[in-house]
Symmetry: C2
Subunit: 359 residues, 2 copies
């Protein structure tokens, strides 16, 4: 009747054991690679498994061991080159350590992030890597961590959360970049970020909920203050959440009477849109506007002029956070570690002195 090859509709250890003429326990030992078995039996079982085309059921294994061999990763948006590169770092380390990765996008929305973590908990992931949408709203993370789930934070830390964290030295980078612009003679320096506030206006760094961005803004404001400049808060623009928003905000800024002579883009997606706007408005970079962008995205080196950037070790960020988590999963460490990776300013031709006489 059934002339198809050995139907693999769930060949179990019991089946293999039966064919090999040994007990279920023994078959399980060789199939699962634990315990001790004689060479003779091992071969018999292996042969039977091959003949039957046995495939282990990791789900069942996880049920009894309590380990799923899975790491949950929650990032803002995998489409963003920053995250896709970081995720590449994470998956590389995870795979090498024998873990698979379940990936969920939060869209930088806390509600979605919470749902994602609930899902991941239900799937019984062994550990969690999260790039929190809002550092002020991390109760769900704290709870997951307290309930015993190893947790590591990517790119955005939280002072309140004492867990493994890997970030870049954003504050320092922003300070350095700002100082450079100041020393070139700029005084009207704008900062543009995707992070938003309830009324879409910036007042104080405390309103910024994304850790990395808040630190950058603090660095920016700090450098300005050190240079004797006050009220620089007015140059910080928030809410560049989509290319369209970014374009609108950038145009508004660059066409106003009191326009910036330099602009710092908080990520490469924003930097790209600002660059496009400059073209569209016929503004010369760096003559009319000096442009600096965070993240050394591929396009920044091929524009005319090429764009000065803050180079972050993005792949390394992912790699490192995954390593920390794996260490913890392997029980090699208990204490929380906060790692800060160095950035580097790559000065290219998009930055220069402001036009003479202007401001």
């Amino acid at each position: 009747m059934d002339q198809s090859p050995p139907r693999n509709t769930s060949v179990t250890v019991a089946d293999v054991a039966h064919k090999a003429g040994v007990s279920k326990a023994t078959a399980a030992r060789v199939l699962g690679g634990y315990g001790t078995v004689s060479d003779r039996v091992r071969e018999a079982v292996t042969a039977a498994a091959r003949a039957l085309d046995y495939r282990p059921n990791e789900l069942a294994r996880s049920m009894t061991t309590g380990r799923s061999g899975t790491i949950g990763v929650v990032v803002g948006d995998i489409e963003n080159p920053f995250f896709s590169l970081a995720v590449r770092g994470i998956t590389d380390v995870a795979r090498q350590a024998g873990f698979t990765v379940i990936l969920i996008n939060s869209g930088e929305d806390v509600a979605a992030e919470k749902a994602a973590i609930r899902t991941l908990l239900a799937k019984r992931v062994d550990g969690l890597i999260v790039s929190p949408a809002k550092e002020s709203d991390v109760e769900h993370l704290r709870e997951a961590f307290r309930s015993g789930l190893p947790l590591a934070l990517l790119d955005r830390g939280s002072d309140e959360l004492d867990v493994d964290t890997v970030i870049a030295d954003d504050r320092h980078a922003a300070e350095a970049v700002t100082c450079r612009l100041l020393s070139l003679g700029h005084r009207n320096i704008a900062y543009l970020t995707a992070c938003d506030t309830p009324d879409h206006r910036f007042r104080t760094a405390k309103d910024i909920n994304t850790g990395s961005v808040r630190r950058r803004i603090e660095g920016f404001l700090g450098a300005c203050r050190d240079a004797g400049l006050t009220g620089m808060e007015q140059w910080i623009h928030v809410g560049a959440v989509t290319p369209e928003h970014t374009q609108r905000i950038a145009k508004g800024m660059l066409q106003s009477a009191l326009r910036p002579t330099a602009l710092i883009a908080s990520d490469s997606v924003i930097g790209l849109e600002v660059f496009k706007v400059c073209r569209e408005l016929g503004l010369s970079v760096p003559h009319d506007l000096s442009l600096v962008s965070f993240h050394d995205a591929d396009w920044t080196s091929v524009t005319t002029p090429p764009v000065t950037v803050v180079r972050q070790p993005v792949y390394g960020l992912g790699e490192t956070v995954a390593k920390l988590l794996v260490e913890r999963l392997n029980g090699e460490r208990q204490d929380a570690r906060k790692v800060v990776l160095k950035t580097e300013i790559v000065e290219r031709a998009s930055t220069g002195e402001p036009i003479q006489g202007e401001r």
Copy 2:
């Protein structure tokens, strides 16, 4: 002794049932949302679950139902903007349909791809989306499919494999692009791809194992043949597997005596490197070289000159393949569907007539 809040170290249906004063089966019915229960009991159980902070164990659920609520996705490299955008499309559709995604990079290596699929099978994913590294080597896919696992192919089909497939009209796009270059007067048109052959040389399209690329090359050669050009195989270069390789190959080509007047890059990563090489060698685009790239990557519109590209609906590719798979998982369809999405040539300033008198 233990003064911490309700320890959530695995609160089970049994615990909830006990607290609610009902049987395990009844508690399971309301917790699992199946069967019928009275409102009174439902409330009691819900309250008990909340009090105990019950979290369902999807693993256990999957054990009995046989469905894991998970889709396995195998792509070449999530770092590549093409794949990260496609994956975004996949995850969006999957999430909306109630599935999570396990992501594995194959690095375009068949052995890694096989291992990935083995892992995914062991994890009992409900379905699989794969962008096969080599269409000539799909025995593992055929096997997975035959064993009853719903499978859908992304960007790279296989005539031998009668499964759901979503690709772009690569052949047509390549034909159109080639015709355009021919009509501009180009005769020395190079094609550069990451796909490699054993001896790193191109002979015939049959040697190209990546479906999408093979189709493009067939389109390229077909268009040349129609124009009366023969021996164009010599202009096809393979093995641009890393930026370094790409740079080396591109330099070799552009510095040789018989150099191309136009070049088609098989993906945006290659296109970017070629663009850089042109700069480095001081070649003017399009004066010295007309450049066309597949994939409308973000950077292509901001270079000087902006680059002519084949715009593929990459997000849509991912979206569509995920929809097909979900349809099948929901048992809404049995037959295999092959979807071909339209591309569009975006002609920008990187293409023009070749220099007078040359060849």
